[in-house]
């Protein structure tokens, strides 16, 4: 952890998550449950739905 300020660079970017096998198991079951194409699709869905949720719903 270093920079606590928001990043001012909303340009396309690649982010590489590091997930252990247990986390991947949950991700893969959820991908199948929701009929998504792949793991990145689930991550993007989580991002979009979290962004659309009311701020008070985010914990």
């Amino acid at each position: 952890m270093s920079d606590p300020s928001p990043r001012p660079d909303p340009s396309p970017r690649k982010v590489t998550l590091r997930l252990n096998p247990q986390q991947l198991d949950l991700v893969d079951r959820t991908v199948a449950r929701l009929g998504l194409a792949d793991r990145p699709a689930l991550v993007r869905l989580a991002l979009a739905e979290t962004d659309a949720a009311p701020a008070e719903a985010r914990k």
């Binding site: 952890m1 270093s2 920079d3 606590p4 300020s5 928001p6 990043r7 001012p8 660079d9 909303p10 340009s11 396309p12 970017r13 690649k14 982010v15 590489t16 998550l17 590091r18 997930l19 252990n20 096998p21 247990q22 986390q23 991947l24 949950l26 991700v27 959820t30 793991r39 990145p40 689930l42 991550v43 993007r44 989580a46 991002l47 979009a48 739905e49 979290t50 962004d51 949720a53 719903a57 985010r58 914990k59």
Partner: protein, 312 residues
């Protein structure tokens, strides 16, 4: 089928009693004079190593379990041992442990005083258990509160004669209620009073009231333990042949590359917990992913076991 009476007894102040409560039987604990806390332990009648666990019960049902809740056994069993069928007061406690001789000596100067640990131990001795086998008690009719600073406190109660709780056994248990020994605290309004214990064969309506629960692989039995032998010596010695077999170890992380559009990158920047993760997008995005999963799919409180699981 209506309820069929099996036994009745009065539990006098300073005493407790082990009751073999078989699956399908109901135990009522009833106020005689009112304002009496009743501590309670429970063991699997056929395997005393499985016992009612206040921590598990508290996590699932909160600080004040009541009618409609279950009394659970400790991990790795985690079985619903008893169903909380009725509660005419609605205030019980799973925050406080049983009171003990040490409490009364240290805080009040008593060398000998009625206390729930020793009462439980004496009642359990009938079944060959030792004082070390007494576990945290479920405290019926006990009023407690969590203070703003995180400490807990006992307040007075207001149960009346005839007020009662009822427990339906979902397995054969040794149920051990005792009249709480605290006569110099607010627990039972500074007095010790008898309580009445009644056991019935459950009615059809009683049995039908129990919600269905999932049965999961993680609810283990001793035949699944790597070491199922109950240790019979007090001293601890390392096993020279021990080789650890921790679950899913080693836990090696794998990369998952996610391409974000400009809009998605802007979302990440809005949502990222920079206070926790600074400029580390990967940690911030992982947090968003699993927090979203919890919000969308969890059917229990954060960190609590679920009773509506779809695990298979």
């Amino acid at each position: 089928m209506t309820r069929k009476l099996i036994s009745e007894r009065i539990l006098e102040p300073g005493t407790g009693k082990g009751i073999e409560l078989l699956r399908g039987q109901v135990l009522r604990i009833e106020q005689v004079e009112g304002n009496q806390c009743v501590d309670f332990n429970a063991f699997n009648l056929h395997d005393y190593k499985e016992f009612m666990h206040c921590g598990r019960t508290r996590t699932v049902h909160g600080f004040r379990p009541t009618a409609g809740h279950f009394l659970w056994s400790a991990p790795p069993r985690e079985n619903a041992m008893l169903y909380f069928l009725a509660d005419t007061v609605g205030r019980n406690d799973v925050l406080f442990p049983r009171c003990s001789a040490f409490l009364y000596e240290s805080a009040y100067g008593f060398h000998d005083h009625t206390n729930c640990h020793d009462i439980q131990a004496e009642a359990q001795r009938e079944y060959g258990l030792t004082p070390d086998d007494v576990h945290d008690s479920f405290n019926f009719f006990m009023w407690t509160e969590v203070q703003q600073d995180g400490t807990v406190a006992i307040t007075r109660q207001n149960s009346r004669p005839g007020d009662h709780v009822e427990l339906l056994a979902l397995m054969d248990v040794l149920a051990v209620p005792n009249v709480c020994g605290a006569d110099v605290m607010r627990t039972s309004n500074y007095g010790l009073k008898p309580v009445k214990l009644t056991v019935w064969e459950a009615s059809d309506a009683d049995l039908a009231a129990v919600p269905a629960l999932p049965r999961l692989r993680s609810q283990r039995t001793p035949d699944q333990f790597r070491n199922a032998t109950i240790k019979a010596t007090r001293e601890l010695r390392a096993d020279p042949d021990y080789r650890p077999e921790f679950t899913n170890v080693p836990l090696r992380e794998q990369p998952v590359e996610v391409s974000l559009s400009a809009d998605e990158a802007a979302m990440l920047d809005r949502l990222a917990r920079r206070d926790l993760y600074g400029g580390d997008d990967a940690q911030a995005l992982r947090d968003i992913l699993f927090a979203w999963w919890e919000a969308r799919f969890l059917t229990a409180a954060n960190g609590a076991p679920s009773m509506e699981t779809d695990a298979v």
